[in-house]
């Protein structure tokens, strides 16, 4: 029974945490691609910027959450989302819009976003330093230990407070985005522009408005992903930058330009990563007597070591690009 608990803790919960963060990040990347047709490499650092805003606000108002019993960082998250959305729109006005106006090729925008990455990272390092910092300043990270109602289950299922918030907020964000895209006038116009920008313009849809709305949504989602990631571990200036590859892998696996695909892709990549580094020998322990010795004697039966975790999304990316470049949901080919 303890093996099952071990599996839940190390695969189900860990995979859902990683998957949720990849999913929210990938949705932003895929929305930007579907409207502006370029891979936004600065997305990871927009996530970090969102978390950085939370860090600043939490430092300024450390007691804000105590009054209502919610971590201060989460109380201030909506404000950080608004600031990050503002930053995203500002970056677009300052850097991407002039490039689009010149009618440059998408690759120029991609390289431009690489420049924005370096700028944002430098800016955040300048103020936050290079080390890790906890987003829990005045409050404590709650850890829940749930004992399973089975005989012999000695180890509890462990889940932390930010992880629970992460699951709830991911669900709310995905449902909210779905309702926005399928019900609201602006959301439908966004899908229309993603389908056929010329016809959207001929229908009287103001494409500049749609671009701005896209950045607001992408910025707000990036702030959510960055903050929840930093709450789960700690805030670091390069934390989200290293998620860029799995997030793009998730967007491509799901089908670029397909928001629901991005959510699915996020969880596929998240769970693939977690399963690849999971030590399967633990699960084999109960069957020790009926298995060959070479299998039970091995101490670590993970597919790859934890330090090579980043190989997994790379592998998935290559496989998808070779076998199904349009992704699960038949998206566009980057």
């Amino acid at each position: 029974m303890n093996e099952l608990v071990f599996f839940i803790n190390n695969v189900v919960i860990a995979g859902s945490v990683t998957g949720s963060i990849y999913a929210i990040g990938a949705v932003g990347v895929t929305l930007i691609f579907s409207i502006m047709r370029f891979a936004h490499f600065a997305h990871g650092d927009m996530m970090t910027f969102g978390a950085f805003m939370v860090l600043l606000l939490t430092t300024a108002f450390p007691g804000a959450g105590a009054a209502i019993g919610v971590p201060t960082a989460l109380v201030l998250l909506p404000l950080a989302m608004a600031l990050t959305a503002l930053l995203a729109v500002g970056i677009d006005r300052a850097f991407y819009k002039p490039l689009r106006a010149h009618g440059v090729k998408p690759i120029v925008l991609v390289i431009g976003s690489l420049g924005v990455t370096l700028m944002l990272q430098g800016l955040i390092r300048l103020f936050a330093g290079t080390g890790g910092q906890s987003l829990y300043i005045d409050d404590r990270k709650e850890i829940f230990r749930l004992a399973l109602p089975f005989e012999g289950a000695r180890a509890p299922v462990v889940v932390t407070e930010p992880q629970l918030y992460l699951f709830v907020i991911t669900l709310v964000a995905v449902v909210g985005l779905h309702l926005f895209l399928s019900r609201s006038r602006l959301g439908k116009a966004m899908r229309a522009m993603s389908d056929n920008p010329d016809l959207a313009q001929a229908s009287g849809i103001n494409t500049n408005t749609i671009v701005a709305v896209t950045w607001v949504i992408a910025g707000a989602l990036a702030a959510i992903a960055g903050t929840l990631l930093s709450l789960d571990v700690t805030f670091k200036p390069d934390l989200s930058f290293f998620l860029l590859l799995p997030i793009f892998a998730a967007a491509i696996v799901g089908g670029v330009g397909h928001p629901y695909g991005a959510v699915a892709g996020g969880f596929v990549v998240g769970f693939a990563e977690t399963l690849a580094v999971f030590n399967w020998s633990v699960l084999l322990r109960p069957f020790r007597d009926s298995l060959p010795e070479w299998l039970t004697q091995a101490g670590n039966l993970a597919f790859v070591g934890t330090e090579y975790k980043i190989v997994v999304p790379f592998f998935i990316l290559v496989v998808i690009l070779v076998w199904r470049p349009t992704g699960i949901f038949k998206g566009k080919v980057i």
Binding site: A189, R191, S194, A200, A202
Partner: protein, 234 residues
């Protein structure tokens, strides 16, 4: 005052002139048809009217107001609708969503206009929850025309609405164009099926090499032996 009055329109792409002085006028309740050989500038003229192409010389008036070189979304506000020849629907949006996009600038109109468009094109009502990309060519053309009608245009520009359709659908589209016109919408369309199109046209414009070759009523052009010989295949 004519609904549309284009005078001596010159224009083209990247310095290459395709239109070399086209005149074109239709009244509010008329169907105008542009015919002519390939490369005559028929579609180009339509694009110039809808602001998709720079007009370098001449003027285009909509009810007396100059509109040349205004962006398309401004023209939609002024009562112009445009149905491109290709890629004229949003494939992943449902039929209903496609139509709603046509009324993007007039969201208050959606319910009333949806009903009217479904009356014009009954098959669309049955397929309203289906993605437009899954429809047949003829039904797609209906979605495209319906989308443009949602903004209640006074002038509808159609670029080869029957291109690639079977003869059965072709007749249906011509019937629907007449129906839309009888509801008070001025129509200006480019057509390859010149004989059929001129048969429903109040005004016919035969273009060649970016200039007017013949301009007359549809019936007169059909009866003209010169037009028949050079442009309608005898």
């Amino acid at each position: 005052m004519p609904l549309l009055d284009a005078r001596d329109v010159h224009g083209g792409y990247g310095g290459m002139n395709i239109l070399n002085g086209v005149d074109m006028a239709i009244e509010a309740d008329e169907i105008g048809v542009i015919v002519g050989p390939n490369g005559a500038g028929k579609s180009t003229m339509l694009k110039a009217i809808f602001g998709l192409l720079r007009v370098s010389q001449g003027e285009i008036l909509l009810r007396g107001e100059p509109i040349h070189n205004l962006p398309p979304n401004k023209l939609v506000q002024k009562g112009m609708g445009f149905v491109p020849q290709e890629k004229n629907v949003f494939p992943s949006l449902t039929v209903k969503e496609n139509l709603e996009m046509g009324a993007f600038l007039k969201p208050g109109n959606v319910r009333r206009m949806l009903k009217q468009v479904y009356d014009f094109f009954p098959p669309l009502h049955d397929k309203r929850h289906q993605p437009a990309g899954e429809l047949s060519g003829g039904q797609r053309q209906m979605v495209a025309m319906g989308r443009a009608l949602m903004a209640e245009p006074s002038l509808l520009l159609l670029d080869e609405p029957t291109a690639g359709l079977s003869p059965l659908y072709m007749n249906e589209i011509f019937e629907q164009v007449k129906l839309v016109n009888s509801a008070g919408v001025g129509i200006l369309m480019v057509e390859q099926n010149a004989k059929q199109a001129l048969a429903i046209a109040d005004r016919g414009f035969v273009l060649a090499a970016g200039q007017n070759r013949f301009t007359d009523s549809g019936a007169a052009l059909l009866a003209d032996p010169d037009v028949a010989k050079s442009f309608l295949g005898g």
